[in-house]
Amino acid sequence: MFLGIDIGSSSSKAVIINAQLKILGKAVFNTGAGTQGPEKAVGAAFREAGISGEKIKFSVVTGYGRMTYDKADKQITEITCHARGAAHMIPSARTVIDIGGQDAKVIRLDKDGKVENFVMNEKCAAGTGRFLEVMARILDCSIGNLSSLSENASEEIIISNTCTVFAESEVISQLSSGAKRENVAQGAHKAVAKRVAGLGSRIGLAPDVVMTGGVALNKGVVAALEKETGQKITVVENPQIIGAIGAALYAWETASKLS
């Protein structure tokens, strides 16, 4: 068995695969680097797979918290792991859009599914999951309900500030002057989409465009991104664990080379 762990800034993910690359266990915990999240995710993945730690031949850790996690055999960046995981799930993928808690990245893949080039957000939370969390808090709505709230939007609202702190005060003033929460929620999705589409246009979005990461669960963002980029975007099944799947695949590959 092979273990892949993805420790993000706001969640921890673990995936266990066998030599036939079948997923035996997977888990997501909504606490990330610096918490018990990684241990809990690994433990839950083991329970789902019905195995114990000794069965793991090789493990790879990825994500923001990879440097401080010392229980894995190897660490690989989330860029390489997301690319690998996405290409494994959807072999025709040539572009991967991954929006996580604190960063957004667009990765171009070659025909073998290897990283050709990538861009990431600048040292700023615009266009990331954190931006949506801030917006959800102002709208007094859970992050999971932000998408359904936006489905009832009746009017277009533009959030013009890219800075999350500025956008927060912009939205508060819009709400206080009578803007509907639904419209603001949709405006927030559009703001993320604009920012990420901008990243994508720097390196070009070649089809098929595949989306991974927790924000891919938000249908409102995906729809806004499709509109903004003019491209069809395929959301991978279980988008949150794609980085961990990539890590598990590298664990399997590394172990195969070693043996």
Partner: protein, 408 residues
């Protein structure tokens, strides 16, 4: 020069002496100039004027982690946080005049050349105005054409002549044209040896790492017109050739795995961190766009050629030159990758960076990465982000190498 002393020891000694002598000269009543990093220093050297370079000083303060107090001072006095951090450090220093990391004397006049950027004009104008001292400006128009056009050469040459008059007026001394020829000769020769030494990094493995380059750069900035600068680069080139002959790489404890160039200015406050992370991944930074910036080479006594040389700095040349220059560096130095520093301070360099990256990638296929940072403002850099990007670059280079090997 004592042959038993290494060029690195001489370098460190030269730089501390450079600053010490400037401070002493000021105390004894000599005139001191503040100048931009790629000025026609030949004119000042001919007049035997002590010069200090605020950009170099700001970099020193940055590297010794003393920049924040000066950045804050400039901002507190109304300069925007978006302004170049060299400008903010220097403007803050002009006000506070004291740093534990090293001091420079206050100037009697300003000598400014905008071949590196246009921010320097307003930055230096403000200094001159606040201190009520004269400013000499050499205006080198941006070259929208590939080569420096004739009318620009003429315009710049006339400014050299005008500057000579201004210098005579400021110092009350006559400009010695014979001495000028001599200085031109030494300066061009120093630049040639700088280029020669830095070009030795093309050897495989490279005999040095680029962080050495950042250190030696201080001499090409501050002492280009001096015999001791020339001697230093000759000695450095000799040492490097020796290492190449013995097959020695940049590090004693590990081999050079990947060879990259650095586009843009260093992150001085994070020099050790940025360097350590490269080394940890076996990545040797062997060159940058810097070697060519100070390759100010021309025939002695030819003012037109000197004007052309000063206008030819890559920052003052068009996109085709900027991209073509890096494509050539990738080939000459057999690079595996490029690290582009998207430097918050330097709008000029950032402006075309993505397009340069795109063109270079298209023409060479070399892996590259862009990271956000700043030359002297420690707050505009995230170590975790840098490390992830560098590691991703390493993974891309590794994968391309494996593919090349498996094709054979």
């Amino acid at each position: 020069m004592d042959k038993n002393i290494s060029s690195k020891q001489i370098l460190n000694d030269m730089i501390s002496r450079h600053y010490k002598e400037a401070l002493e000269a000021k105390k004894s009543g000599e005139r001191v100039a503040w100048a931009t990093s790629i000025v026609p220093q030949e004119l000042l050297e001919t007049m035997d004027i002590k010069v200090v370079y605020p950009e170099n000083h700001a970099a020193v303060l940055g590297a010794r982690k003393d920049a924040p107090a000066f950045l804050r001072n400039a901002e507190n006095n109304g300069y925007s946080n978006d302004l170049c951090s060299y400008a903010r450090v220097n403007i803050g220093y002009a006000n506070l005049k004291e740093s534990a990391a090293g001091n420079i004397p206050m100037p009697d006049f300003i000598f400014c050349c905008n071949n590196i950027c246009n921010t320097v004009i307003k930055w230096y104008e403000n200094l001159a105005r606040e201190m009520r001292i004269p400013m000499i400006l050499i205006d080198t128009p941006f070259n929208h054409t590939f080569d420096v056009p004739g009318h620009s050469v003429k315009y710049i040459r006339e400014q050299f002549n005008h500057a000579i008059g201004q210098l005579e007026q400021i110092t009350g001394k006559k400009f010695d044209h014979d001495r000028f020829k001599e200085v031109m000769k030494i300066s061009a020769e120093t630049a040639r040896w700088w280029k020669k030494a830095t070009a030795l990094a093309a050897a495989q493995p490279s005999p040095f790492n680029g962080f050495d380059l950042f250190n030696y750069m201080a001499v090409i900035v501050c002492m280009r017109g001096k015999q001791e600068g020339l001697d230093l680069f000759k000695l450095w080139a000799e040492e490097l050739q020796g290492k190449i002959d013995r097959g020695e790489g940049p590090w004693k404890d590990q081999p050079e795995k990947y060879r990259v160039m650095w586009d843009g200015i260093a992150c001085w406050p994070h020099l050790a961190d940025t360097s350590k992370i490269l080394r940890k991944n076996g990545i040797n930074l062997i060159t940058s766009t810097y070697p060519d910036s100070w390759t100010i080479v021309y025939d002695s006594d030819d003012l037109d050629a000197m004007a052309r040389a000063y206008s030819s700095n890559y920052a003052n040349r068009n996109l085709a030159y900027g991209a073509g220059n890096i494509v050539q560096i990738v080939k000459d130095f057999s690079l595996d990758g490029i690290i582009y520093h998207s430097n918050r301070s330097c709008k000029l360099m950032d402006f075309r960076q993505y397009e340069v990256q795109r063109q270079v990638q298209e023409q060479t296929g070399v892996a590259s990465v862009i990271f956000d940072g700043d030359q002297t403002d420690p707050g505009a850099f995230s170590l975790a982000q840098y490390e992830t990007r560098i590691q991703a670059l390493m993974e891309m280079m590794e994968q391309r190498r494996n593919e090349r090997l498996s094709r054979r």
